[in-house]
């Protein structure tokens, strides 16, 4: 069983607990063990870096150091945590002064970071480490006819790493095709959901969420698949607010990609945290039926 140092991130303990459940179930089915990092701390998300960059790096580095100690690749299912971890790790390798500075702080906790572990997003682990072929072997309930909008979100692909395609990545679509679903051409798949603006400048965020929902409807998606709890919350929890504000009547299901994968693998919906959504319960039930008959 391949092991990974798993960093769930704060929201997977609360608002996105269903994501956590789905991740663990699907990973187990695929022969991976997600070993949760002991006593991990918040990564600072997007809010902390503008406040104090050095402290923010240190906050992230503590988790990375713990992961390094386990001798395993660092994997996280949240776009924001992923971006923070990936780039903190990269900058530590490039800037010895920063590394020295951070390590002097980590020393207090008997930790040290080299920057040697690899940082991955859970979806990358599935697509590249496990491989689409292996995944296809585990699909027992292909989701035929289910049109899924692959919402990468912005922090999964930006800032650009290693010349990746930030305008039109395709790996999420490939994954969806592998599990038998039909990925739609989702125009705003790498556009921002507004992130924490939903708290600080609600109108700006609602406007952005409106566009994301509009595009999903335009491409006739049945569900939007997400790779990040923030994106998921913005799209799902605030759908009602968007409707009130803009006079729209969206009822677009929004699910985590592992929940969709899990259904295709025949895992029971309640084990995947399905049923814990905040909106659009009715459409989801019919969705679950699709799985039954599939």
């Amino acid at each position: 069983m391949k092991q990974y140092a798993y960093y769930p991130g704060c929201s997977l303990e609360s608002l996105a607990v269903s994501y956590n459940l789905a991740n663990i179930e699907v990973s187990r089915k695929l022969g991976l063990e997600l070993s949760e990092i002991e006593d991990w701390n918040c990564c600072g998300a997007t809010a902390y870096f503008p406040v104090d960059e050095f402290l923010a790096y240190t906050l992230v580095a503590r988790n990375l150091a713990k992961g390094e100690k386990m001798g395993l690749d660092f994997v996280t299912p949240c776009n924001g945590c992923y971006k923070n971890a990936y780039f903190t790790n990269a900058y530590l390798q490039q800037d010895p002064d920063l590394a020295e500075h951070i390590n002097s702080a980590l020393e207090e906790d008997n930790l040290h970071i080299e920057g040697t572990s690899k940082v991955k997003h859970l979806i990358e682990v599935y697509v590249y480490d496990v491989g689409l072929e292996e995944i296809s072997k585990k699909i027992t309930h292909p989701l035929q006819g289910l049109r899924v909008a692959p919402y990468y979100g912005c922090q999964l692909v930006r800032p650009r790493k290693n010349g990746e395609d930030v305008e039109n990545p395709r790996y999420f679509e490939d994954l969806l095709s592998t599990i038998g679903a039909e990925p739609v051409e989702y125009y705003s798949k790498t556009h921002c959901c507004g992130g924490s603006l939903i708290v600080t400048n609600r109108m700006a965020a609602l406007d952005m969420i409106n566009k994301l929902l509009q595009d999903a409807v335009k491409s006739k998606a049945d569900v939007i698949a997400t790779t990040c709890p923030m994106c998921n919350v913005n799209l799902e929890v605030y759908q009602g607010y968007v409707n009130r504000e803009f006079g729209t009547d969206y009822s677009m299901p929004v699910m985590y990609f592992t929940q969709i994968m899990g259904l295709a693998m025949g895992i029971k919906p309640n084990l995947l945290g399905i049923g814990k959504e905040l909106v659009s319960g009715a459409t989801l039930k019919s969705f679950a039926q699709v799985k039954e008959s599939g």
């Binding site: 305008e167 125009y187 705003s188 566009k211 335009k218």
Partner: protein, 670 residues
């Protein structure tokens, strides 16, 4: 120590004297370096002045000086001044040294004591070095009066015409079937709105008919040997499959040819051409060319319609490429630019969405002899646009692509706005970062277009998309941009988008440069000898650059550079010979073991190997004096004049004041 060295320390007003104790340095040199051969040490306020130089000249004549060291400013400024002064007094100019105690001492250090100490050390280094200087004579090289101009755009045409009018013979080589370059593709030129073809074609015709110009189109240079004044160039004349002696340019073959292919060179992919074709009606020379890879006869063995209908039997399917070798004295590289490919910016939708075109494509659209007869219409070929967006700086001024400014895009975009306004009355939006209109009448042109009612939005376009978010946007291309002057995001629906793509070096500029022995800068443009004071010469004697090969520029600047290159060459031809700096390497045959390590190190291929005697030899005229071979020779058989081992090693000793130690303690350090 039989040399008689004169030392001169300059105050340079207070530039040096303000930090370095000049009198102390002079006095020190005079006393402590006496045993090294210094017979006189003087300080003076301004050594480069005529009085200063006279001091040197007088001492040479009266004291019989055999070496001169001046401690003053940078040799890049006054090395020649003091060399010439020595020459006037009868001393070989290469027996003098200028060491910098200004740029490299007084101007960069604040500690006066340390600066004075360093000045002494620097001077000492110069003294030790100059002892080993040898009298050198500049090389004289004859200049062949013929010249080669590579590239038949406006730069090349200008250079060729000026040289030819001056009575010199020129080979004008062009890789396309006709001369004219990019300028032939344009519709109107800014700011006068002259028809581009109208002002270009008379020059083209002149070049085609000039008795002193040998026009070689559909040809490429494949090999360059030799050195300034004596180049031997091999030019490949590609097979046209048309006998130019018989062809009258009637065009029947083109008419009868049944095959059409997309013309992605002259028509920028906007139209088709026949397989046997002349690129445009005013082509010079007016002989067609057969595109063999697309020709039915060459592919399948059938057709031959052109041959059947040619009234003078000029079609020759058996024609072969022909190599000719020419001797020239000077070369001008004027091979122009390529356009940035906007496909590299996926957010702009070029190649994915319709009605998004590049600047060159738009020029063809506008052009009366272009694919739409000069009508500005959408892809359907019929509908004129009601709104047009023109995007500046596509691929330029952008860290992700090219950081530089392409110089002509603002004026070009403003010109496009005017043309669209004139011909369609459409509503026009120009999206810019800054408006750059530096040339004559350029700013006035911009004002005129502003008055016409074109909207200028200051903001870098984020995206061009077809995804509508409101009813007015349906079926349109939407330009998403931040209007920085009003501080708001805007979505502007348009029918057509013109991308003012930046200029880039030709895709094969690097290889071409290597062929001629010149280098490219980081951006890919050729490196000029001096960016301010000598933009048309290169580091390789005898090879000049003109036009956009040196960097993006407009037509007047291009023409000026073409003319400048011609003038420079004419000066050399007139002199009949040129002198080269004698900083060269030379191989001592007796010491050379024939290992040939040096041969491959030379970037100018200046080292030949004599098989019979198994020794290498440096061609002094090709050698540029870098000294790499000198350093590499394991036998120490190569000496570099002007920078010999003896000179450098002595300078090291001098800089470390070992010469003083040698005198003081009679111990010779190991």
């Amino acid at each position: 120590m039989s040399e008689k060295i004169g030392v001169y320390v300059c105050h340079c007003g207070t530039n040096i004297a303000g930090i370095v104790n000049v009198e102390e340095v002079t006095q020190w040199a005079g006393s402590r370096l006496k045993e090294r051969g210094v017979v006189i040490a003087r300080d003076y306020k301004f050594m480069c002045s005529s009085l200063g130089q006279e001091l040197i000249e007088k001492d040479i004549k009266e004291l019989g000086l055999t070496r001169v060291v001046v401690a003053a400013c940078s040799p890049h400024l006054h090395e020649r001044t003091f060399r010439t002064a020595c020459e006037r007094a009868g001393l070989n100019p290469y027996l003098s040294e200028l060491v910098s105690i200004r740029e490299q001492v007084s101007w960069v250090h604040t500690d006066k004591i340390a600066a004075t100490a360093k000045a002494k050390a620097v001077l000492s280094g110069g003294v030790e070095r100059v002892i080993h200087n040898e009298p050198l004579e500049p090389l004289k090289v004859p200049i062949h009066p013929d010249s080669l101009v590579v590239g038949g755009g406006i730069a090349g045409i200008q250079a060729a015409l000026e040289l030819a009018d001056g009575g010199n013979h020129v080979y004008l080589v062009e890789r396309e079937p006709s001369i004219g370059g990019h300028m032939a593709q344009f519709d109107k030129t800014f700011p006068t709105l002259d028809c581009s073809a109208c002002i270009l074609t008379p020059r083209m015709v002149q070049a085609g008919n000039h008795p002193n110009i040998t026009l070689l189109t559909w040809s490429e240079v494949t090999k360059v040997d030799g050195y300034v004044g004596n180049f031997e160039v091999v030019i490949k004349k590609k097979a046209r499959y048309v006998n130019t002696e018989l062809c009258t340019g009637c065009g029947i073959c083109v008419e009868k040819c049944p095959m059409k292919v997309v013309d992605d060179v002259f028509e920028a992919g906007m139209a088709k051409r026949k397989v046997i074709y002349t690129p445009f009606p005013q082509a010079v020379p007016n002989f067609p060319v057969l595109d063999a890879p697309n020709c039915t006869f060459f592919q399948k063995g059938t057709c031959k319609a052109c041959e059947k209908f040619c009234p003078t039997n000029a079609i020759d399917f058996n024609q072969k490429d022909e190599d000719i070798t020419v001797k020239v004295g000077n070369i001008v590289l004027a091979t122009g630019y390529d356009l940035f490919n906007p496909r590299r910016i996926p957010q702009y939708g070029y190649g994915r969405l319709e009605n998004i075109i590049t600047s060159l494509e738009f020029e063809r659209l506008c052009n009366a002899s272009g694919p739409t007869g000069g009508n500005i219409v959408l892809k359907d070929g019929v509908t004129p646009p009601k709104t047009v967006g023109i995007v500046h700086c596509v691929g330029s001024r952008d860290q992700n692509y090219n950081g530089y400014c392409s110089a002509i895009c603002c004026m070009q975009s403003i010109k496009f706005a005017h043309l669209v306004h004139e011909r369609t009355g459409a509503e026009i939006y120009n999206f810019y970062i800054d408006i750059r209109t530096p040339g004559k009448s350029y700013e006035e042109f911009y004002q005129r277009v502003l008055d016409e009612g074109t909207h200028f939005v200051r903001g870098k376009v984020a995206e061009v998309t077809d995804v509508a978010r409101s009813p007015e946007e349906e079926g349109k291309l939407i330009i998403q941009v931040e209007d920085t002057l009003i501080g708001k995001q805007r979505r502007i629906p348009v029918d057509m988008v013109i991308l003012s793509a930046g200029l880039e070096p030709r895709y094969d500029a690097k290889e071409t440069g290597k062929l001629f022995g010149i280098a490219c800068s980081a951006d890919g443009w050729y490196i000029e000898r001096h960016p301010k004071l000598d933009p048309i010469a290169t580091m390789t004697e005898g090879v000049y650059i003109a036009g956009c090969v040196q960097g993006p520029k407009d037509i007047p600047a291009t023409v000026a550079q073409g003319a400048a290159a011609a003038a420079r060459i004419q000066g050399k031809i007139q002199q009949g010979e040129i002198t080269l700096e004698p900083i060269r390497a030379s191989i001592n045959e007796d010491q050379c073991s024939g290992c040939r390590i040096c041969n491959d190190l030379c970037p100018f291929s200046a080292i030949l190997f004599h098989e019979d005697r198994a020794v290498s030899e440096v061609n002094a005229a090709l050698c540029q004096g870098c000294g790499t071979c000198v350093a590499a020779c394991p036998a120490g058989a190569i000496s570099g004049t002007g920078f010999s081992n003896e000179q450098v090693l002595a300078q090291i000793e001098g800089l470390l004041l070992l010469n003083i130690e040698k005198i003081e303690s009679n111990k010779v350090p190991a």
